[in-house]
Symmetry: D2
């Protein structure tokens, strides 16, 4: 459960974390000037109570660092979640990106008829679309290499690279903020690609903070 593959070449891996369901309970019990050594049966009720009454500050003393590989268009959605989140990312100014991979969808979805920002089903000629996208991306990488060969600096040459290029980030996030990300991004209105990452984030969080996730996942 420490590393989960997502999409065709991406992943999310647990790097480090701090705290537990017990630390949630202890952060809450500081209000009453009490602390516990071990979780007991009453603590699940306390966690449920905290979530239901929107006392969410006890869920901000737990932090998780993930290593994530995802396409740039996914990270552009992801990084809109800025509260309680910090990111460090591969730099296209430092690093030659010619070896970086790009995302090829297994399934190309049709534009949704009713929801202007949604998608549904699968297009008729999926193979054609895959080929078209792959050729387009290979050409872009070739253009990048050609610009580098002309002596163009990396920071300008990367301009031609497509939004489905994979990037990698370190993401450190509080438990509350991570649960909020999960709730909003595994929702059916989110883009399918980021839904897949949100489900993986939830799976990892659930192994670390099972009681908290049980209640936060629908309310954070």
């Amino acid at each position: 459960m420490n590393k989960i593959d997502v999409l065709d070449k991406g992943f999310i891996a647990l790097v480090d974390y701090m705290g537990s369901d017990l630390s949630v309970v202890n952060a809450a019990r500081i209000s009453f000037n009490k602390q516990k050594e071990h979780l007991d049966e009453s603590d699940e009720k306390l966690i449920e109570y905290l979530v239901n009454h929107e006392h969410l500050s006890p869920f901000r003393h737990q932090y998780v660092t993930f290593h994530v590989k995802a396409p740039i268009f996914v990270f552009r959605q992801w990084m809109k979640h800025k509260i309680g989140s910090d990111f460090n990312e591969i730099s296209g100014r430092y690093t030659n990106l010619s070896g970086v991979e790009y995302y090829v969808p297994d399934i190309f979805r049709k534009q949704h008829k009713d929801n202007k920002q949604g998608s549904e089903g699968i297009i008729d000629d999926n193979t054609h679309a895959q080929l078209l996208l792959s050729i387009s991306c290979e050409n872009a990488v070739k253009s990048y290499n050609d610009l580098i060969a002309l002596g163009v600096c990396r920071e300008q040459a990367r301009c031609v690279l497509p939004l489905n290029m994979y990037s990698e980030v370190y993401w450190t996030v509080s438990l509350q903020a991570a649960a909020h990300f999960v709730r909003l991004r595994k929702d059916v209105h989110a883009q399918k690609e980021i839904q897949d990452y949100a489900v993986a984030v939830e799976d990892i969080l659930t192994t670390i903070y099972p009681l908290s996730l049980k209640y936060l996942a629908n309310k954070a």
Copy 2:
């Protein structure tokens, strides 16, 4: 001074703002339980004092909204500045991007010899690089249109578009955070393209908050 052209097709425009050098002074004087109706000569010294002693909270009661058109790779650097900043952006899920423009550099800079993330000078065959980049981007837009024609949803089709596509955002930012952006991004170590935007942001801020910018620009 309300709209400044930046790069070949971008701009930054002032949409709205709140506060003034006087509101900085009044936010500071609440500490002494005093308020003023008009700026006087002593206020420049107070502003200088606040900046030099890192009492920056009085510069967080002024907010500015900008409308910015810039390439995506520039926005990816810009949006790392998340404290005191909010962004709303054109969505490639809602909007057909085939008409969106892309950035063509006037000058392609060489990779810097010493600074791994820097650039310097101009390459020998600038015209060749411009042509190469333009063809690459036109091909990417053609691929986007072809995918749309195959029935692919906008949110997936946009994958093939390049990082120099122009996007547009509403950016609302506190005076302190805007001055911090200016200081870090007009620095010679920043990428030249975002330096150009930082200079334009500074020009607009200076017309609104002249005394504050005079001191904040080097210290925020």
Copy 3:
């Protein structure tokens, strides 16, 4: 509606603001690359839609500055709302606090029987409690003055002053964050004293952003 008295000696006053229901709609429409000059009938539906689908970023391009006078124990609850909020406050290090007023409740509420953090009804001997509290606070102010007379610095002398001393702050807050404050703090579970301020904040916001408040007040 620009200044509302709260409690026995407090107030909340509007100092400045930026944006409108129209700026909410325009921040949202940047997603579709469209802008409007005037609100029309469809905009209320858009605002309702944004709130119901938790697309709250368009409500972060509006900012309001309030001047607030409230007891310190109220500000201690208030300042827990730190996202999208900035505060500047009277400093007891700079300012002699001997003239500062203190809060005397009209009504002393009984400890709630069921809710450990709540209150209800009115105690039997309200006049006695008022007298007791007033004497206690007057003695504290006298001790403060005695310490000052002994040559003690203000920053230490203030130690003896009570939590119901009035303070004054400049509070600058985004529309979303202000609406979130209103929703949580006018709730019956909040302390009655801060409920009174939350109602006053809502009244002022409603005059500036009537459509936004109509929907945000229950969901922000």
Copy 4:
């Protein structure tokens, strides 16, 4: 080094932490798409470089939770540091505060002659001031108990308690934000009482992140 006494009855204790100097280096090296298993000699130079060039994001993947006991007037300064910080505190609505202790200064400092917000030296009659303060606080606690005895709810009765009452909080903070707190609050312009806490925070951080603190302490 896990618990340090501060002032007459306060303390700061390490509850939990995440990351290390190595995690700083790895968060930075994600920019070059590289990772390390162990620190080596070059890493101190990298950390120095990051600090000197204000690349501080790698110092936001480390978090520390402290348990702090301090007077309320100290926490009121402390909680102004809101970026990268979260707090949970004893609630005077839940908890009967009659047993809570108050701060009695060893030394009462004189008002500073030049610096309106500063202090210096020691007053002539220190013992008198200690007695005066102690009596004032004991009277306030007595008033609190009398109000409780009259049936007044805890949330109102606490109004009469003084600003030097000790409170306790859980404080979770990023390495960067903690170092920023240390730099600003161990400065001679800060109030002596919070300087003492800042020094203790620095001592604990230095045991966990020695290289980072060495450079951050003067620049964060």
